[in-house]
């Protein structure tokens, strides 16, 4: 027999439990129930019990593959841009640190929709390509509605989410460790590889997860900067609910998507835990 939980603690956990039930368990239950139903003749949802919608997902792998490809590539490029910048701000910027951080964060205050829409004009024929044409650099450069534009949109929109965790990891790094490494004869590259990089790894993993997960749910960037020619999961979901009005299939796709995200998150946190465990002299986190 389990011990009876004291009343006070029941009361104190009640809000958290209620939150969990109302905002997690209930919606997921609804999602599952809808996903095993069938599409009504006029669209929407009609009751039923079938796993056909999950089987149908096998025919809908293109958006999943597209999403994985672009979100992994986008995250990698964001990391390559963010790491040197974070390193500079944390280690080299001195008293300009606050200004530089503000410059990274302030654009974030504008709606993502507006910021992304602005890029359609910068990348369109009358934008950057026109300037480059004027300078005689290229003749007919086409940037808008290309994979390049999508990756650019990802890097631009998600840079702060990658930069801040890395910045925090680097900022907490004691400068004397680098000095010690130097004293012991390590060059700059060796110091970076053997001291700085491993110690900032938890920040890198955290940043990658913070970017990868929302990018996988991205809807706006493929629509505005990809011209609707590259199809992400988010676009597939929007179409299933708003154009096809096939709620059961949409629910099944959303469910599969949640499972995929959970798997990525579990792997990511396991990696982060191992890395941070290694970083803090092996104590289990």
């Amino acid at each position: 027999m389990p011990k009876l939980i004291p009343r006070a603690s029941t009361l104190s956990t009640a809000p958290a439990v209620a939150w969990f039930v109302v905002f997690m368990v209930a919606p997921l239950t609804v999602l599952f129930v809808v996903s095993v139903g069938v599409r009504g003749p006029d669209g929407g949802y009609a009751g039923g019990f079938t796993f056909d919608n999950y089987l149908e997902l096998g025919n809908r792998l293109a958006p999943i593959w597209n999403t994985l490809k672009f979100s992994l590539l986008g995250t990698a490029v964001t990391l390559l841009v963010a790491y040197p910048l974070a390193y500079y701000i944390a280690v080299k910027a001195g008293r300009r640190k606050l200004v530089l951080l503000a410059l990274v964060i302030v654009p974030f205050w504008t709606s993502m929709l507006i910021r992304t829409y602005a890029w359609t004009f910068l990348l369109g024929s009358n934008g950057l390509p026109a300037v480059l044409r004027e300078w005689g650099v290229v003749d007919d450069l086409r940037l808008l509605n290309t994979p390049f534009a999508i990756v650019l949109g990802i890097v631009y929109n998600y840079l702060p989410l990658m930069l801040l965790p890395i910045y925090v990891a680097l900022e907490r790094l004691d400068p004397s460790l680098r000095a010690a490494s130097k004293d012991l004869g390590a060059g700059r590259l060796a110091t970076f590889r053997q001291v700085t990089l491993p110690l900032s790894a938890p920040g890198v993993v955290g940043g990658c997860l913070l970017v990868l997960i929302p990018v996988m749910g991205e809807y706006l960037i493929p629509v505005l900067l990809g011209g609707g020619r590259s199809y992400f999961l988010g676009n597939a979901l929007a179409d299933l609910f708003l154009q096809s009005r096939n709620w059961p299939l949409g629910a099944a796709l959303a469910g599969a998507f949640i499972l995929l995200m959970t798997a990525i998150l579990l792997v990511g946190t396991a990696v982060a835990r191992r890395l941070s465990g290694a970083a803090t002299t092996g104590s289990p986190a």
């Binding site: 293109a62 640190k97 606050l98 964060i105």
Partner: protein
């Protein structure tokens, strides 16, 4: 490193906190969630507020579909304030109506949704005694159609076409969908097709000699192969066709009347052409929700909006064609004489309305997602 250069955690949190607050605020304001309220004026004061009518009315409509001055005039005459909710598609209106308790009194669905709305009892029969409209003299192309025989449930608000728009830069003047799609596939990313299965699959079907409302699997797979084959040659699959055309990125596009009128008006080097081999004619139609909270106000509004003078004012504002010849006599001459807005009978003769089956067809939906995800 001197401590003065370090940013305290509190500073960082403050910076982030303001940021997320601000972005949440802006996002909430600008994220263009569909039910964008554009109430004309607050307060139900003004004219003779009839107790029976109540003080407000909710109208689910499309962007730039209703002249705000006219809504204000209605408020002055009746004391009823019109809450305007703007939607980007009939599908979005339908989602709310199906959920129930939407608060919507009057909705303006495209014709293809109407049979489903009637059979699902989302809208109620119109009370013609109260609306006081006689449709007998109206344009036969838009009244008494298969989607609502006898117009028991709906009255066309206005109608339009799905045509092609292209710039001088194209150097060619396509007049059929076949020519349009041949050009689209031969250019390097210059053509746009709209992100709507009805219009894009339908127009491509016409180009292949199939019916605009094609639904059989073989015809659909032909259309899918055709569009997938040229997808890498397209500039975009997007219903926001104007920026691409205006910036010179896109030289030709499928377009609805509204986009055609606006682009040609601002840039006369563009042409809007209705294909001679077929294509789409559409109408958006007044309807009253079955669970309308203010039915009396809805009847009063429909009576008001069909008085020829008011209807004509709305056409001058929206630049779409009306179905009542009496109204068209009062519409500005330059609008009535604009062939984009008012194409002649011969031009629209080969066009078809999208049917409810086309709208609801799971096979067409699947074909469209196959094309988009290829």
């Amino acid at each position: 490193m001197p401590p003065m250069n370090n940013i305290s955690r509190r500073d960082l949190l403050r910076l982030l906190g303001y940021g997320s607050l601000a972005s949440a605020g802006v996002a909430g304001f600008a994220a263009c969630s569909p039910p964008e309220s554009e109430g004309t004026d607050s307060g139900s004061g003004g004219g003779g507020g009839d107790g029976e009518l109540g003080s407000e009315l909710t109208l689910a409509t499309w962007p730039n579909y209703d002249d705000p001055e006219l809504l204000e005039k209605f408020r002055e005459e009746t004391g009823v304030r019109v809450n305007v909710q703007v939607y980007g598609s009939t599908e979005e209106m339908e989602t709310l109506l199906r959920a129930g308790n939407s608060g919507i009194d009057i909705a303006v669905p495209s014709q293809y949704a109407i049979p489903g709305w009637i059979s699902s009892k989302l809208i109620q029969p119109l009370d013609y005694d109260k609306i006081d409209v006689d449709l007998s003299g109206w344009n036969k192309a838009v009244v008494d159609q298969e989607f609502d025989p006898g117009n028991e449930y709906t009255i066309p608000k206005h109608w339009g076409t799905t045509g092609m728009i292209y710039s001088e830069e194209l150097g060619e003047e396509p007049t059929t969908w076949r020519e349009f799609f041949e050009l689209a596939g031969s250019l390097d990313r210059r053509a746009t097709i709209v992100d709507h299965q009805i219009s894009s699959i339908g127009s491509a079907a016409v180009a292949l000699g199939l019916d605009f409302n094609v639904q059989d699997p073989q015809g659909l797979s032909e259309v899918a192969d055709y569009l997938i084959g040229m997808k890498s040659k397209l500039f975009a699959i997007s219903s926001d066709v104007q920026p691409g055309l205006r910036n010179g990125d896109s030289w030709l596009s499928i377009a609805w009347t509204g986009d055609g009128v606006q682009v040609v008006r601002d840039n006369p080097t563009f042409k809007y052409v209705i294909a001679s081999d077929g294509g789409e004619i559409w109408s958006d139609n007044w309807s009253v929700a079955a669970d309308a909270p203010h039915p009396e106000a809805a009847w009063a509004f429909l009576k008001f909006i069909h008085e020829p003078e008011n209807a004509a004012a709305n056409i001058n504002f929206t630049l779409y064609a009306h179905g009542d010849p009496e109204v068209n006599e009062l519409v500005d001459k330059e609008v009535v004489d604009n062939p984009v807005v008012y194409p002649d009978d011969d031009t629209i003769a080969p066009l078809s309305f999208a049917t409810a089956e086309t709208y609801n067809s799971p096979d067409r939906a699947k074909t469209w997602s196959r094309i988009k995800s290829s």
